[in-house]
Symmetry: C2
Subunit: 129 residues, 2 copies
């Protein structure tokens, strides 16, 4: 496959692009992470979301530890060619490392961030004790 579609991305100086994972069907935003060229290429080839972990400085095949893979149904690019949106099916129904469905589980209410989503599964059970 030609790599022109990868060349069209306006990567940051660090060679990254932000990626937003949105639940297919509901539109719920589940997480936000970064991809490098290799991660995005592997995402397209495998059909499962692969990110670049900035903290660990390595490819992060989402679900490799938790089993919570993200099957990519569609990918979109924005007008500036510097942000990716993915429609995904979230395996296990849990995207967040805290054991919640979405990473965006805190809502701004009356001047503070309040937790508005339950923990579905204890992280100790997800990642092993």
């Amino acid at each position: 496959m030609s790599e022109q579609w990868l060349d069209e991305i306006k990567w940051t100086d660090d060679g990254l692009v932000p990626a937003i994972a949105q639940e297919s069907g509901t539109g719920k935003i589940l997480m936000f992470a970064w991809m490098n060229r290799e991660a995005l290429a592997e995402t397209a080839a495998s059909g499962f979301a692969v990110y670049w972990s900035r903290s660990r400085q390595k490819l992060w095949r989402k679900g490799e530890a938790s089993g919570h893979q993200q099957q990519v149904k569609a990918m979109y690019l924005d007008c500036d060619a510097d942000v990716i949106v993915m429609e995904i099916e979230q395996q296990g129904g849990i995207a967040c490392h805290t054991g919640r469905k979405s990473c965006f589980y805190r809502q701004f209410v009356e001047g503070e961030w309040r937790v508005v989503e339950p923990v579905i599964k204890d992280p100790a059970d997800i990642y092993g004790a």
Copy 2:
């Protein structure tokens, strides 16, 4: 109002946080931009999305030129406290400077980015000739 909620944000070294604007009701992701502390504070106080324009290095009150303001219905913070999601009502139904509803108007299909959303209004008519 206490500013503790602003102190809880993990700003980048440049003092910014990414913000995702999602259409209330449909969940459609309309745009992605950045906020600094002042932009986020003004967003919360005014109820309308205010970003930080990195290219112009100034506050960007969305809609100030186009009239396409974004009324904020809800705001969420992620687990790492470094990304904001806003549920918004998009005035004029157009978020993108290209005159499309969403900035994410290109879909990855058969190895290329294809435009899949129509221009609703000519940008020349939005921003003045």
